[in-house]
């Protein structure tokens, strides 16, 4: 155990951990909301996120962020954020329409929906992985080679965005980490207020509590489920944008591990609980970083899952342990 290193770098380790944890938290929202409403784990949500990373990458490349600065760069980044949110939301809605609604209509067992989700996840990931072939069939390969080339490896927008660092009390901090943390927490607060106060949010909570009674009271369940997927998709889009801002590169398999971690974060905080997702994500991100510093980076995933097991042993419902329906979220 390397305590010297751990304590002398604690602030930096915490901040980078929080930044990645914030991304986990935003993805975790998608898992937690769908679970709250449908009692169903949407395993294809990781691919919703993955498509968002590509939307960000393509917009940044297409609009030439590498040569832009100042207002122009900010405009490009906003466009990239909107594109990521739009594509992720679109994929999430398509998922609901294709992989879930037909099953829910037929009152299929939950297990079937789970298998359907895993299948949809593979289809979405492999479609992105095969985009070079698909572009080839459409005879677009020559025109779009920058966007479809090297389909199976990291696609990168490195160098497009400057990442200045600054010092606070002797601790070197990346401005990107600060942006990621602030943006993610800001989005969570907005969403939390939205679900708590708006008509739609009340509908979502009512459906989560008791779908039949909610339907009797005039809440359209199909519409509510759709909106739940939409919100999850939008949040995954924001997460994807922030992820790209921080790491620059993505590939078609990037969703898998992040999805598992975000799901872990959701369970850690209490699945079905919005604030739980935030807390779970941040705790997971920081714990991973601290653990890596103390034991070694190769233990990252072990640390994450041991933490999950330990917390579930003590609190089987997660840290905050309530469901979406029980209204405080």
């Amino acid at each position: 155990m390397n305590f010297d290193f751990f304590f002398s770098n604690l602030p930096e380790l915490t901040i980078t951990g929080l930044a990645f944890g914030a991304i986990y938290a935003l993805i975790a929202l998608g898992y937690t909301m769908v679970y709250g409403v449908l009692q169903l784990i949407n395993f294809a949500h990781s691919e919703v996120f993955m498509y968002g990373t590509f939307a960000t990458l393509w917009v940044v490349m297409a609009l030439g962020a590498a040569d832009a600065d100042g207002v122009q760069l900010i405009a490009i980044l906003i466009a990239a954020l909107l594109a990521a949110m739009a594509l992720s939301a679109l994929i999430a809605l398509a998922l609901e329409r294709v992989a879930y609604r037909p099953l829910i209509k037929r009152d299929a067992p939950r297990l079937i929906a789970l298998i359907s989700a895993i299948g949809a996840s593979f289809v979405l990931a492999e479609l992105m992985g095969l985009r070079d072939r698909i572009a080839g069939w459409l005879h677009l390969d020559d025109n779009l080679s920058e966007y479809v080339r090297k389909a199976k490896i990291n696609n990168s927008m490195a160098g497009a965005i400057e990442k200045p660092r600054f010092e606070v009390a002797g601790v070197s901090i990346s401005s990107i980490d600060v942006i990621v943390i602030v943006a993610a927490i800001g989005m969570m607060i907005l969403l939390d207020q939205f679900v708590r106060r708006s008509r739609l949010g009340k509908g979502i909570r009512a459906t989560a509590q008791d779908p039949e009674t909610a339907a009797l009271m005039g809440v359209n369940p199909t519409r509510t489920i759709q909106y739940t997927f939409l919100i999850g998709g939008l949040m995954a889009g924001v997460a994807a944008f922030l992820y790209m801002l921080k790491l620059d590169a993505t590939n078609y398999q990037v969703g898998f591990l992040l999805g598992v971690k975000a799901f872990t974060a959701a369970v850690l905080g209490g699945i079905g609980n919005l604030r739980g997702a935030l807390l779970g994500g941040l705790v997971l991100g920081v714990a991973e970083n601290w653990g890596q510093a103390l034991i070694g980076s190769q233990w990252r995933d072990v640390i994450a899952f041991v933490l999950l097991v330990l917390i579930l042993l003590v609190r089987p419902t997660g840290l905050l342990g309530e469901s979406l329906g029980k209204a405080r979220a």
């Binding site: 380790l13 090297k150 199976k152 990442k163 190769q298």
Partner: protein
């Protein structure tokens, strides 16, 4: 038309006594995360086979077995290979991990393999008489990298990172041992990892002159980007697993990176003709290990040209082989290691990987 008879002198073309209906197998990644490293190897072997077929009565077929570079997929594929009696030799397996997994199966049945790229030294210590290597292993590459860091870079402090793979961890271990006291810290990452915050903090707090990374380009590209973002400005030293154009995706962060490789530069006069033919065939300059793969395939093709039509004779032929290839004198010791070994240094300059010369 070419005359009949053996054409052993130039190693090309099947004479009248050349064997028929034979196949060579490529074993390695055609798709997957490391597909970029597989492509030049496939094309190098393909060029050799195409040149042989151009004036041969009996064509040799090159069959591709796509392992995606994964040790998990390797044993199943290896069984497919040994099951096809017409496959007389294997160019590959391309990576060290899959070589370790597939090696026992090839050795059991007696299918001769010549890898143009797997560099883990312990592969030769398994007593597989079918194993051959057409390039220097990490027991020569590692010390060469260490010498470069000590003598050329004159780095007083080095941080060593590996990716826990058969190849990366093995190589990093050798470099770490050779550098001795200059190593200020080590860390291990995982393949497919994307966020290296903790590792970056470890490096920036140790402030080393150089970082050595043993692993493949997929992680190296992300790692150097994050190290530079983290404010570290020393020299990044990597090995052959990173020598792929995809590493240049790191853009400015990649500049100045030193890449060691037991692969001959395509500007070397010895491979000039090969480089020209390769470019004519595939429309690009030969990538990493294309020339080594070409040499490996040509050893088998020489044997086929001599009329060898079974694995047993081919194995004996390869074990006794002693001819000049384009990359080196091709001769294997009793463990399958090449007798003649060179390691070269490359550097990333103005967005291209350029040769710096041999590491003596």
């Amino acid at each position: 038309m070419t005359a009949c008879g053996t054409t052993k002198e130039d190693g090309k073309g099947g004479g009248s006594d050349a064997a028929c209906d034979l196949k060579l197998a490529f074993f390695g990644p055609e798709t997957g995360d490391a597909a970029g490293l597989g492509k030049p190897i496939i094309q190098g072997a393909k060029l050799a086979v195409d040149q042989y077929n151009a004036d041969a009565d009996c064509k040799v077929e090159l069959v591709k077995y796509d392992s995606q570079g994964s040790p998990d997929a390797a044993p199943g594929l290896a069984r497919d290979v040994v099951g096809d009696e017409s496959i007389i030799g294997v160019v590959g397996p391309a990576f060290s991990g899959e070589s370790a997994a597939a090696g026992p199966i090839f050795a059991d049945v007696g299918v001769p393999t010549i890898t143009p790229s797997a560099t883990n030294p312990t592969l030769a210590d398994n007593g597989w008489d079918t194993f051959h290597r057409a390039l220097g292993n990490d027991a020569t590459q590692g010390p060469a990298a260490a010498r470069y860091i000590k003598d050329t870079l004159k780095a007083a402090s080095v941080f060593v990172i590996d990716d826990a793979s058969e190849y990366g961890a093995g190589l990093a271990g050798i470099v770490e041992k050779d550098l001795g006291d200059a190593v200020k810290g080590t860390d291990t990452i995982q393949q497919k990892q994307t966020d290296f915050s903790a590792t970056v903090t470890k490096v920036t707090s140790a402030k080393p002159d150089a970082v050595f990374f043993g692993g493949y380009y997929a992680e190296a590209t992300l790692l150097i980007g994050q190290l530079r973002d983290g404010g570290w400005d020393g020299t990044f030293v990597v090995a052959d697993g990173v020598k792929d154009p995809a590493f240049l995706d790191a853009k400015d962060a990649a500049e100045g990176t030193i890449i060691t490789c037991p692969c001959i530069p395509d500007t070397d006069p010895a491979v000039a003709q090969f480089a020209k033919d390769y470019e004519a065939a595939f429309g690009e300059a030969p990538g990493t290990y294309a020339a080594e793969s070409y040499d490996a395939a040509n050893i088998f093709l020489d044997g086929i040209g001599d009329g060898i039509d079974n694995r047993e004779d081919m194995l004996k032929f390869v074990n006794d082989y002693d001819e000049k290839g384009i990359t080196k004198q091709l001769k294997f010791d009793d463990k399958g290691e090449p007798a003649d070994v060179h390691v070269y240094a490359y550097t990333v300059k103005d967005g291209a990987i350029v040769p710096e010369g041999e590491i003596k």
